[in-house]
């Protein structure tokens, strides 16, 4: 029975989501990490609200980046370890489609989840509610871009034993542009200025990455698995 591309992608998406939702503890860990890292900053610097509000874009973004990166290692590793990945490779389905579906599923439960709890964290840092839409939009675009970059890194490091540190090492330099523009967009929103320029750039970065990264991630998987 031959399955069309879209159907196959839909199946992989549903499967990955189901698997993730089954392990709620693993789902929640990056979110808790996000909260903990955010807390580290007022503790180490100062709880003074004007300082916090100034730091908020940076703190939010760095914490979100690190939390999202932490979970990227699991994108392919689970399936690689139990042999599912090889089966998917042999299935004759487009590996690119599978990678896109898996990455998107992963983003939904990590990046998108981060975006949803970001208002909580933002309030703790004194970010005004008016800034939330821009902040969440920028975080959404940013975490999605990061998921694609992370997929490339995960594809390259899936077989390695200490893969997760190397993954972060590889992905973080590539993520610096989105950090710059995302934090800037949030910063402008907090200051009441228009963040459109930064958001457009973030958007185009996301589009660019979404178009090309799946190719690279698929190639990476082929290199490490075959």
């Amino acid at each position: 029975m031959s399955v069309g591309l879209w159907r196959a992608m839909g199946l992989v998406l549903r499967r990955d989501l189901a698997l993730s939702l089954r392990r709620l503890d693993q789902l929640v860990q990056p979110l808790v990490f996000f909260l903990i890292v955010t807390t580290l900053f007022p503790l180490s610097l100062s709880p003074e609200s004007s300082l916090l509000r100034q730091m908020a874009p940076g703190v939010l973004w760095v914490a979100a980046l690190l939390a999202a990166l932490l979970s990227m290692d699991g994108l392919f590793r689970g399936d690689a370890e139990d042999g599912t990945l090889e089966q998917l490779l042999l299935s004759g389905q487009s590996l690119g489609g599978i990678v896109i579906a898996k990455t998107f599923a992963h983003w939904l439960v990590s990046g998108a989840a981060l975006v949803l709890i970001s208002p909580l964290v933002a309030t703790a840092l004194g970010v005004p509610v008016a800034a939330f839409p821009v902040m969440m939009l920028s975080l959404g675009l940013g975490t999605l871009t990061l998921s694609w970059l992370g997929a490339i890194g995960a594809g390259l490091t899936v077989g390695l034993r200490r893969g997760s540190v190397l993954l972060s090492l590889i992905v973080l330099p590539l993520a610096m542009p989105l950090l710059i523009f995302g934090a800037n967009a949030t910063d402008r929103a907090i200051g009441g200025e228009s963040a459109t320029g930064a958001l457009y750039f973030l958007g185009s970065l996301c589009l660019f990455t979404t178009t090309l990264a799946p190719l690279a991630a698929t190639a990476a998987l082929r290199i490490t698995l075959e």
């Binding site: 390259l156 077989g159 390695l160 190397l166 490490t224």
Partner: protein, 244 residues
Amino acid sequence: MWTWFYRLASPPYVYRVAARFAPWLLAAAGLLIVYGLVDGLVFVPPDYQQGDAFRIIYVHVPASALSVMAYTFMAVAAAIGLIWRIKVAFAVAAAAAPIGASFTVLTLVTGSLWGRPMWGTYWAWDPRLTSELILLFLYFGVMSLRVAFEDPNRGDRAAALLATVGVVNVPIIHFSVVWWNSLHQGATILKLGTPAIDPSMRWPLYASLLGFLLFFGGVLCLRLRGEVLQRERLASWVREAVRP
């Protein structure tokens, strides 16, 4: 007509040819660098704004140019290796990486030392230096990835893919950093600019640049021999090459 290209894909050919080119490249590089440095340090008049400190450009600018060129070169070699499955290309990429990384370190340190008298601090997140720092991270990523695999062939290919992804990102990163820096521009102009160029200042700079480029070529040839040998040590041609 393309035979020279096909020959370049042959490890024993490259191994022999690199040995012949290296001394010439290095000798020419040596002459140019000596000329560039001596002229730049001794004969060129001091800059009216920066005094004698500007002479650092004769080392800093070639190093920074080469650090970026080496990465691009490495990425092109890596892409060639991936697309046409030419193993020698991976050896070239592997050889280029440490050379480029060392130039990046040189750029950062000389940039920092140049910044101290100019800005009063050893590091001020100048856009060019910050881009160079990120470039250093990219180099480390590629080099670390290559050695992380037990199978060197896999390591070569994974590192090659990363280098290709990285090179696409380099302009984006550079643009982002320049933009970021322009937002937070203080009263002082924090750019490491070459001063208003007096023609007498240019020639030693060009010489130094070309010298560094030839040096890169020469050391690449030297390193390439080791890299090719490593990858081909079980091949039959190696027997004759190693024990003539």
